[in-house]
Symmetry: D2
Subunit: 460 residues, 4 copies
């Protein structure tokens, strides 16, 4: 019942969890290059937030009760490691679902609130586990060759349920404590076994996590960003995992299935938009820095491209601000962001992201992928020559400029960059999902009234 | 010292003004088809706002003193006729300039405030007159073949100045009372004669206004929007017009020249963005209405296009809201919108406008330009056949659908639509100008710091 | 059995045809402003092509028998009036269908060839009449409230058939001789009555044409293009029209229904692409001319936009050339263009068209919609002032520049421009149809083999 | 004077060349992971093309003498390794320059032809070395802090010249025999020392090459493409390298400097366009394969995106075909492709490339970056579970689908993908350069004539 330190967090992972990568089981996460950076980041986050005392709790356990609190939460979130972000998002998504399914499912709502307190009291880290394997996309869960491709209840006991399935794209799963399991989409009558939401400790019997990671295996200065910021991506297998009743939040009520998915989508897209704002500004900054280093910052077509990047970053920010400014309270007094503005902003930010990366590549030039290694810069014979030729003018030495090129490559044109390109597009469910939700929450009646006014046709 | 009624407004235009159109001088504006609709709209606006009493004044003379007041102003503005909008925008632009040039030019600031009170007391309508003829764009005002292509002071007298030049694209000039003249751009030392801002009554000796109008000459139901909403565009010639000192707001101080242009740009783009929000929603409404009338509203590619239009309209709205939410007060306590968000939103709205119109045309189909006239619908022999074939299903009769097509054509694919296409792009100075101002007000230092962080390079 | 002169053509229209516009029946087409320009253009075309002798025939009746002949045809087509273009396209579409339905329908193919000879021998002008009224887009022809919303056979007689329905968007119908009627889409078994193709003289009993026209009612120099180039758009009503067997090309064979529609689509899109090439070059020319007139042709962002317009026009041209270079012969030795390249080029040209117009508007400036009338230029008092202020520099006088603005407005931002905007998008069936056909004709197996090669997966 | 085998090629590299990577000098290229794949590919290419006999020579030494030969060359080129491609392109660029500078520089043209024969006779591999270090982009070569940032002649001797500088982004330099050195841009009078073109053997004293490589260090099936296709990128340092007269092709004639750069640009963009055609088809293939594997190939928005990718690939192909079909012969009878179509096609292909990658990522889904390793698939415990959950339906097993995801990640969202993203944009000089050249070669007079025709203004 107290906050953990970084050391305590690292010790807490020695809990019997089953983690795999590159064809092997990983017994000591901290010794493996796929996990080292992630553990460092999370442990540092624990240390930074740590305050003594039994009542202390992290700011990531705050429930916003006004638009200002929501705004502050979004600002703080940018400084947290990813698993701390998912802890906040996952629990707020659960609470949003609780508010939306209450009062018809008061008991589930109560369990969710209790689970929130449990995580807070124990300073745990959670990830949301939503995307199922899905099998053939044209068939519903019950019509698949293999019924397990959507996570389902395989047994109902008096004291709980047993679940089987797989959850994909679960960033940080291997280095967190709790899996917040939700149904991936709306279920229909007859699909009761697939309408399941619950919370599962990572070290539960039957849980196995297979990991990939976009990170460089060696931490070299040629990867200035990804060597310091990366998280494993988990493929989570749930092989007949028992979940006690107190941790079960949905078990068959198909009418609430979509509520969980939408609640998560809302917070994931809001968080994604907040990150896109920062990433947008970062792309602008890199573009301006490399233009100045190349001596092209006053060239007209370069300026125009940077201006377009500025407008992009500013509009995503405007969308985020509007999503917060138009937040509405639940009956509990919890503030949830505007679905319409959140989805519109996330869509725009994601859809135009690759065009902004293209601008950066156009501005930077070919050295983004051909600049010699920092190790070459330090070579006795060739180092001075590289410095000589990578230098451009007074104040821009060759090493500084080379490092900028590596930063741009690492951030946008190498393994991390590729991961980011796909993730910006897919997080929160892809462009299609965002168009769907935006359409659903748009005040179409008002728009149609405007259209009829232009046509001179009276509304009836 | 009281508000005018519509009738008083119409009478007030019989003041000796010189107005031309189609190669002829127009003696009675209200009898001419180019001006009839505009006069109806403005007179109706006077009547609607009219309140008795000496202290009464229109809401368009309000100076916002908080973000909420600014927001309310923008909402009201959408319901005003264009010359009422320009009255508000032009005077707020002047006041913005006053705040920015004070204290070095306290006297000018005082005159502006006095002029504002004068317009308010007399319930006048003003237009901002900014764009000069400009001659060869590659040469500065003083280097032109003809020095008059930028409006300039040709004589300085003890009691005032004499100005000569032309101001272009002055919507509603012929039906307003006052021309708020401003310099079109930054002037340099040596260009003192071109650094001139002042207020000129429309009926001053030497003022002549040549008009064009996108409006249909006959008010038929085939033009359901433009027959009810149009304004003449004025080409204003200033032929040695005398301006008394009290109406002179800049007369040679080149360092302040750009301040007027930027102040006007800010308000014009803000107002333009507010209109783009409404126009965006209107395009969505027309798209949804015609899709429903065609029976295609559930066709996937139609839904996707409407979703893109929704996201467009919502993002422009987000930009407007952020421009207001980030407004800052002047020392006088007047709230001016954020330059960064205003320009980013206006740029996005204007740049993507033609793509949204394309979506509407793609959704609507060829009948947008080939639907028979409403007059044909009323023809005894062919009317029933047209109704039969323009009908699609229960609830969508042929006349209703035909009217929708005419609305779309009138609004986006005929004379008014063409005017709107160009005007959305050019109002507030074109895309280039908006990129320029957005770049200028963007927090680039912060973005560069983010870029350096990615590169692992310490800031110095 | 000889070619007609312009005069003979005009006389030939006095044949009892029923034509309506603006709520009235038009008895004398040549006296009505909606038709005057069209008649002038077509008559001039007759005179220009006219050669004496019984064997003479117009080049628009040529069937290309090599890629070079096809290329030449496309070049000539750009110089023809619209109804001469549709004569060529409509008949080639019929011949394409003939080649595709032969041998199973040898008799229909023979009739088509005979009909082609008939039109050639009598130097007639034809329009293709394809788009049905369509009713509710979600229901098939047989499931509509009103069975006539798709043109259908209402009676089968020994000597012919009787058809009823309406055909929409039929440009030039009122000023041509022949309606080439085709089914609008694929019909399914049970929809035999709607699988009908035939040729109908415009003056047949039961045919009535309701017209609209984007043209200015008065031919003034403010409309330099549309006053010289416009065609009426016809809404064609077929009210129980008898068609003799020799003119019937399909009457119930649902399996061939789509063949006619696809054949027409191919030629219409090819012709549309050829026009887009010319229109693309015209937009570039107008952009460069107005930039030079404004003195901005060397401004960087203007140059960039013109370069983008150049690349657009050049790529559409490349697509057209590839469509011709990849043409394939039918068994008859007739060369038909590549479906894949034709549809890809038309899609690109249509989809990006509005963006090119936007560039032109961005480059030109607000005077596109606010330039005074040419009549004002000729006014004694204000004419000289307008010339003074519209002039920019040595070699660019005010009248020349004003005329350029009117040309841009007329061509892209007024009634004709709006018609062109919609027509470029919708001709040949809208963007969706072009994507569909491009996908169908793309060598997907080859692309999948390339994908498998990247994946290192052997094809099986 | 005979063709080399793969073995002879590998032996030929043991010639004293100085090659560096990752901070170390590489003595045995074939033993180093950065070079292994490249050497395999090139050696295989030698073996495949090898024919015995003194007169045998590779098809990459052909000079196209008709449009058909040019077309065939472009088709063959797609099957060659990169250094064979650059051998063809570099030598054709030299010959193009020879044709363009003749007759004023007959001696240089003669040396180029002789050098071409020398490379052919000895079956050598060449790379073009053009991009200089460039220093401050705002200053000309002579005005830089360091005169060496543009490669220059530091000494002129009776028997040759001595050059100093660096050439950047030289793919395959370390594994080729010859550097074809050209000036990076137009030089002005006074910049004679920087107007230098010549041929330098890679093992010349003073040449050092620092390499980077986007390739994975281990050849695993998680990198199915890049483990089999990669080339080192060379940063080439020329430290006072002596070049004998017979190998000097320009040494001070500034008026010809741009000719070399433009000639190379033409061939590089043509080759780049040919590759973009194949890459475009590959992206389509991957999109279709993964859609089929996911079971989404009939989902409307997926089909639309694939159709857009098809249109993209087809238009780039159309541009390539038009560039070849519009090729013109030099006085020597050598066929050079159309500058206009080559640049337009390359611009379009490069500008839209990232949007096509975005489509593929949107279609594929998050498993592109989160699919478990192939090694995990082979793990006894978790392998079966991964296969179970990655499977979607009959005919799509889990391993096949996992391999597709790795292919997409490797090809577009990892180190190779990032390299390709930047390279497609930057090869041949970036978007700006392609716009510039397209504008220069566009028939603007014809376009202006079309514009004047619309305006009704007679040409003079």
């Amino acid at each position: 019942m107290a906050m953990m330190t970084g050391g305590e967090y690292l010790a807490s992972l020695d809990d019997g969890r089953r983690v795999f990568a590159d064809g092997q089981e990983i017994k000591d996460l901290s010794a493996h290059p796929q996990f080292a950076t992630a553990l460092d980041l999370i442990a540092a986050g624990y240390d930074e937030h740590h305050r003594p005392g039994e009542d202390a709790c992290g700011p990531y356990f705050a429930i916003p009760r006004s638009r200002d609190e929501l705004k502050r939460l979004l600002e703080e979130l940018l400084h947290w490691d990813m698993v701390t972000v998912t802890t906040s998002q996952g629990l707020l998504a659960l609470l949003t679902a609780a508010a939306r399914i209450r009062p018809s499912s008061e008991e589930y709502a109560r369990r969710i609130e209790a689970y929130f307190e449990y995580c807070k009291d124990n300073d745990l880290r959670c990830v949301q586990a939503i995307t199922d394997a899905k099998g053939d996309r044209m068939r519903s869960p019950g019509a698949q060759d293999d019924p397990d491709v959507y996570t389902r209840i395989v047994e109902r006991r008096p004291d709980g349920i047993v679940v089987r399935g797989a959850k994909l794209h679960i960033s940080s799963a291997a280095v967190s404590h709790e899996l917040v399991v939700m149904p991936t989409k709306k279920m229909k009558p007859g699909e009761e076994d697939w309408a399941v939401a619950c919370a599962i400790p990572v070290n539960s019997p039957g849980v196995r996590i297979v990991n990939t990671n976009y990170a460089p295996r060696e931490r070299t200065p040629d990867f200035p960003h990804s060597s310091r910021h990366n998280m494993p991506e988990g493929f989570v297998i749930l092989d007949d995992v028992f979940v006690p009743n107190e941790r079960v939040f949905l078990a068959g009520e198909t009418e609430h299935s979509a509520t969980f998915a939408h609640s998560l989508g809302l917070w994931e897209r809001l968080g994604g938009t907040a990150h896109l704002v920062e990433i947008g500004d970062t792309l602008v900054g890199l573009a301006q820095l490399i233009a100045e280093a190349n001596g092209t910052e006053r060239v007209s077509h370069i300026r125009e491209k940077i201006a377009e990047m500025i407008i992009y970053a500013t509009l995503v920010r405007a969308g985020l601000e509007a999503a917060i400014a138009n937040a509405e309270p639940s009956p509990e007094g919890w503030y949830f962001p505007s679905e319409l503005f959140t989805n519109a902003a996330k869509h725009f930010g994601a859809a135009e992201f690759s065009a902004m990366v293209r601008h950066l590549h156009d501005i930077g030039g070919g050295s983004i992928v051909t600049a010699p290694s920092i190790a070459d810069l330090e070579h006795e014979e060739i180092g001075p020559a590289i410095r000589k030729y990578m230098r451009t003018k007074e104040g821009v030495d060759g090493e500084y400029r080379t490092r900028l090129f590596h930063a741009i490559r690492d951030y946008t044109a190498d393994a991390f960059g590729g991961w980011q390109l796909v993730t910006m597009l897919q997080s929160g469910g892809g462009l299609y999902a965002q168009r769907l939700v935006a359409r659903k929450h748009y005040p179409m009646d008002k728009a149609k009234a405007l259209g009829l006014k232009v046509a001179g046709i009276p509304e009836n």
